[in-house]
């Protein structure tokens, strides 16, 4: 069971309180009708699914109930950072340095 840092509560809390919510930084297009079928398909279904650093969303479901973003390294299953919704992606290079 992972410990996850909620950037709103500013606490490390057990995974049981959280729910995974898919890949991060995939904004809903402001006008979906302008998108081609292929573009809309990509928005709906195409995800990066990397072996390594993954930007993803979590929700502190059984806590403050806020959605937030996280950087997780999927091989070792380790969180490198969590940050609030709307904040820019953190710099991976410096995070990987911290992980070592």
């Amino acid at each position: 069971m992972l410990l996850i840092h909620c950037p709103y509560c500013e606490q490390d809390l057990p995974e049981l309180e959280f729910a995974y919510a898919g890949e991060a930084h995939i904004a809903r297009p402001t006008d979906p009708s302008k998108l081609s079928d292929e573009e809309w398909r990509d928005f709906l279904f195409i995800r990066t699914n990397p072996k390594g650093v993954h930007f993803e969303r979590w929700r502190h479901l059984n806590g403050c109930a806020r959605f937030f973003n996280a950087v997780r390294e999927t091989v070792g299953d380790k969180f490198l950072a969590t940050y609030k919704t709307g904040e820019p992606r953190p710099d991976i290079t410096s995070l990987m340095g911290d992980a070592k």
Partner: protein, 999 residues
């Protein structure tokens, strides 16, 4: 009976005899014994039969690595456990143990014929033998294999025991209480850090329990142990838990511990849990798991009486039991020599010490000579004899790397030692990397992924002095890492018997190696030749060799077998061991009961049962219940003598004829509030909301972004900025999550607040032509006449003196009201309406009647009539889409090519040709029943009921291009014949004009 117990020796209580039985025969042991040591004290070595060949087997080890001595143990009804390890189970008064895998008896087992057919059961046997004919698999092979397979028998009664669980947070968790673990806990404990020290044995000490002659700080080992234990007792920050196995090491220093609480007690306290599962989050972990002794691999190394030398030393020194009078020692390591010396000093007459090494330390040979033990160096062992107990050992000289002249040595036990290997299990759970140590010929812990230290024999330090020092350093570092001031204690150790040795593959033989039964994995009956065969047949990866031969896949997790298997596979592959690699150890470390995993999650506390405020009334009425997500809901209200069918028909009639009362409190409810509430609703739901006037309701349809139906429900607009949203019972949490997701992350600019109000409102539905008559006298502040309060109206008012939100809605097709009152008033409201309804023969109805009534009207249930692949058009709900809206969740997907293509499944009505036949929900539908199998299925039945109102069965189904098939006859093949049914385009079976709703 001969006793092998030595008086005044060991840690057992010689003044406390304990009676127990084995296969119905009564025996006596001592308090402090394990089942294994007590049987050995009685001269019993034959303890079980092997898994595949049914070979007679005895105990091999003295710890949790035991592969052979597995018993069924029983303590009264519901307390039977198969595969209890005799080496772990402590003796208790009346312990009832039975041997396994034998018929009719342990000494004469019919299954042993497999041993003579061994050539049929080679590696990959299952894969090769049962390939054909295909039809034999189901009828012949599988039943036979299933009957023969498995260790022991499953318990046949519910477990009468209870199990507990607990969380703990500590600074330092030390796993293993041998010299390294004790020193680590001392160092950390003295610094003030919170320390938890756990060990799977019944007492702390590890190796020290088997090495009483060692002195530490001028004290005999056991005195030092007592002083150390006393110091732990005096330190409030140190918790010591014995009988506690660290079963798994998970992320971020979470370690699972299984603590055995009552299995060792003569009489467990009433209600005491049998085991407790701990989840410990430690800032620092010190692994001091020690090392595991490896068997030597030679023909007949599995006979009863052949055991690990270190185990024999433990039985002697810890339990005061000689494993034999005339043991022969076979070793590749110095440590077994000390076992021989201890046994000789205790009165046994070791037959010989056979060492595969040509030279050893002179101190060893000198001591052997002094004790009158013959030492044979540079030998190989090529066989043993004895059916139920080893009688002799066949030893050969080595000539130029080959087995030469042979000689038989009479013995009553064979003590083998193939050296020691660090116990890497928990470290492997963390995905820690292993490093091959060429000098020690072992794998050691390498790159770490967690905040962990490995101390002592677990990283290849074999002596007690080195382990104490290493443990002290590890404990000190751990304490400093958590911010404590720590100094590593120093220890002076004497009489420490450090040894060294070599690592072997299977021992050379002068006989046909293909006929040798030289076991590597005793529990899964894997021999050296199986590994070589697997390599010859093309297995290159150690992971493939493992699965093909099942080496290391038994319940002992390869504790004894993995490294021997690797050495032989590496030799067969012509590679160095590190090029072959070790298979991954996975949790649990040793077999763990399901009960301890389940903990409190059983029976009534298996999971939460949600009950409505009206649940107690339904229970008093004798309602039958059904689970709906976590809720338990009244299913129907049977009267005496009624079955479900009769009760549901009566309830349906009552509601249609006069009035029914229904507990709808489980409906999901979300309050959507704020200046932008209407904008939010416009974007979330398919329907238009902007022009919905306050005081009016609308059916709302929710899609996923992929365009498929996710949920639905009636939504009331209470004021310009407030919506009362209802969802399906099971969908409430999902819908709120989805709404929150969009609100927080896509449209954070909207001023909207979402609140779950499901449990805040109790909802009582009155449905039927007399519903208004029952309700009207209770309503204050609102005119509920047909004109003033039409269908799909909502208003706040007072009902029976309680503040209420009153909806005029119908899920039955009848005149209907749903009264929402604060949950605490739900039961009182229900009882008042119930009483007032008596003059109209009011009938309470459950979810089954609700389902029938709604199906008669063709109202869908999301999740029953839809399955996550239905669009609004598929379900016939295009009317619920706001065509003029520029966007809503899922809108763009509705024009994707596949969503508008022909051949989609559409929801239609289905009427059986025989009106008495009720289709089975989920039944598959075909167009042509004469087509060859497998048939092309074109849909399935989603809802199907007997309709009392229509006097016939009705059904809904999703069928490919269903609406184009109006009037077509389709076929539903069932086991006892094919049912024919006709498609009706609409799903409304009753009152299509909605005349009954509008009264």
């Amino acid at each position: 009976m001969t006793t092998y117990r030595l008086p005044n020796r060991g840690r057992v209580d010689h003044g406390k005899p304990v009676r127990f039985s084995f296969d119905g025969k009564s025996y006596q042991g001592l308090a402090g014994d394990t089942l294994a040591s007590a049987l050995l004290a009685n001269g019993v070595h034959l303890m079980g039969r092997s898994f595949k060949y049914h070979r007679p087997r005895g105990v091999v080890s003295a710890g949790s690595d035991e592969p052979n001595a597995l018993f069924g143990t029983r303590r009264g009804a519901g307390r039977f456990e198969p595969n209890t390890r005799a080496t772990i189970q402590e003796l208790r008064e009346g312990l009832d143990a039975t041997s396994q895998n034998r018929w009719p008896s342990l000494a004469f087992d019919m299954g042993a014929i497999n041993d003579n057919l061994g050539s049929l059961f080679s590696a990959g046997f299952y894969y090769k033998t049962f390939m054909w004919p295909r039809a034999f698999w189901d009828r012949v092979y599988e039943p036979v294999i299933r009957n023969a397979a498995g260790l022991g028998v499953s318990p046949s009664e519910p477990d009468a025991d209870s199990y507990a669980s607990r969380f703990a947070h500590v600074d330092v968790l030390v796993v293993g209480a041998g010299p390294a673990g004790l020193a680590a806990a001392l160092a950390a404990g003295r610094s003030g850090a919170s320390v938890m020290l756990v060990d799977e044995n019944s007492e702390v000490g590890g190796t020290l329990l088997s090495e009483p002659a060692v002195t530490i700080d001028d004290k005999p080992a056991w005195d030092w142990l007592a002083a150390t234990t006393a110091e732990f007792d005096a330190l409030p920050n140190v918790t010591v838990m014995t009988r506690t196995t660290a079963i798994g090491y998970y992320h971020q220093n979470l370690v699972g511990l299984c603590q055995r609480l009552t299995d060792h007690l003569d009489t467990p306290p009433e209600g005491a849990p049998r085991e407790r599962m701990w989840k410990v989050r430690a800032r620092e972990v010190v692994l001091a798991q020690g090392a595991l002794e490896k068997p030597l691999v030679f023909d007949g190394n599995d006979r009863p009486g052949v055991l690990l030398a270190g185990a024999a030393q433990t039985y002697l020194n810890r339990y005061g039991v000689k494993v034999g009078d005339r043991p022969a020692i076979v070793t590749a390591h110095d440590s077994a020599w000390y076992t021989a010396f201890d046994l000789a000093e205790a009165g046994a007459k070791p037959a010989a010490i056979v060492d595969v090494r040509a030279t050893v330390d002179h101190a060893l040979t000198d001591r052997a000579r002094a004790l009158g033990i013959e030492a044979l160096l540079g030998r190989t062992v090529t066989g043993t004899s004895g059916r139920l107990r080893v009688k002799s050992l066949r030893v050969n000289r080595m000539d130029g790397g080959k087995a030469g002249e042979a000689r038989d040595i009479a013995c009553d036990a064979v003590l083998m030692c193939g050296g020691w290997t660090p116990c890497l299990h928990l470290f492997s759970h963390t995905q820690g990397k292993l490093t091959w140590d060429e000098a020690l010929q072992v794998y050691l812990p390498g790159k770490k992924t967690e905040t962990v230290q490995i101390a002592g024999a677990g990283r290849g330090l074999w002596s007690i002095a080195a382990s104490l020092e290493d443990g002290a350093n590890a404990g000190t570092l751990a304490a400093r890492d958590v911010g404590c001031q720590a100094e590593a204690p120093a220890f002076t150790v004497s009489a420490d018997r450090t040894g060294s040795g070599v690592t072997c593959k299977e021992l050379p033989t002068d006989r046909d190696a293909g006929k040798a039964k030289a076991f590597i994995d005793f529990q899964n009956d894997v021999t050296a030749k199986d590994i070589r065969l697997a390599v010859r047949e093309g297995m290159r990866s150690i992971e493939h060799v493992k699965r093909y031969t099942t080496n290391g896949m038994a319940t002992d997790q390869g504790k004894m077998s993995n490294v021997n298997g690797l050495m032989i596979a590496a030799d067969a592959l012509g590679k160095a061991p590190p090029q072959v690699g070790l298979t991954t150890f996975r949790p649990p470390y040793s077999p763990t009961t399901f009960g301890s995993f389940a903990g409190y999650h059983k029976d009534a506390t298996f999971e939460v049962t949600r009950k409505t405020p009206i649940d107690g009334w339904a229970e008093a009425q004798g309602a039958a219940y059904e689970p709906v997500s976590l809720w338990r809901r009244a299913w129907y209200f049977p009267k005496p003598g009624e079955d479900m069918h009769a009760a549901v028909s009566r309830e349906c009639r009552g509601a249609r004829a006069s009035v029914g009362i229904f507990d709808a409190s489980t409906l999901g409810k979300i309050e959507v509030v704020g200046p932008d509430a209407v904008t939010f609703m416009e974007r979330m739901y398919t329907n238009p909301w902007a022009k919905l006037a306050p005081g009016r309701c609308r059916y709302g349809l929710l899609l996923g972004e992929d365009g498929f139906i996710r949920d639905d429900g009636v939504i009331g607009r209470l004021s310009a900025d407030r919506f009362h949203v209802t969802t399906t019972t099971g969908g409430a949490a999902r819908v709120l999550n989805m709404m929150e997701d969009y609100l927080q992350t896509e449209w954070p600019d909207l001023k909207v607040w979402l609140t779950s109000t499901t449990e805040q409102w109790a909802v009582v539905a009155l449905q039927g032509p007399n519903a208004r008559k029952v309700l009207e006298p209770f309503v204050e502040g609102l005119d509920i006449s047909a004109e003033a309060f039409p269908h799909m109206a909502v208003a706040e008012c007072t009902v029976a003196g309680f503040p209420a939100r009153l909806f005029r809605v119908s899920f039955t097709g009848e005149l209907g009201f749903e009264v929402n009152v604060p949950a605490r008033h739900g039961r009182a409201l229900w009882e008042k309406l119930w009483e007032a309804g008596q003059q109209y023969d009011i009938v309470p109805y459950g979810t089954e009647t609700m389902h029938v009534l709604r199906a008669e009207k063709g109202y869908i249930i999301v999740g029953q009539d839809t399955d996550g692949t239905l669009t609004p058009d598929d379900a016939g709900l295009t009317w619920a889409i706001g065509k003029a809206k520029p966007d809503f969740v899922g809108k763009r997907s509705l024009t994707r090519p596949d969503m508008v293509a022909k051949g989609r499944k559409q929801l239609v009505g289905l009427l059986t040709d025989d009106p008495k036949v009720v289709l089975q929900e989920g039944a598959q539908i075909v167009a042509d029943p004469a087509q060859p199998k497998p048939m092309t299925m074109i849909g399935h039945v989603t809802s199907s009921y007997w309709s009392d109102a229509l006097g016939r069965s009705i059904a809904m189904a999703v069928v490919v291009d269903g609406r184009d098939r109006d009037g077509q006859t389709l076929h539903v093949p069932m086991p006892d014949g094919t049912i024919t049914a006709k498609v009706v385009k609409g799903t409304v079976f009753l009152d299509p004009e909605n005349a009954r709703i509008s009264v």
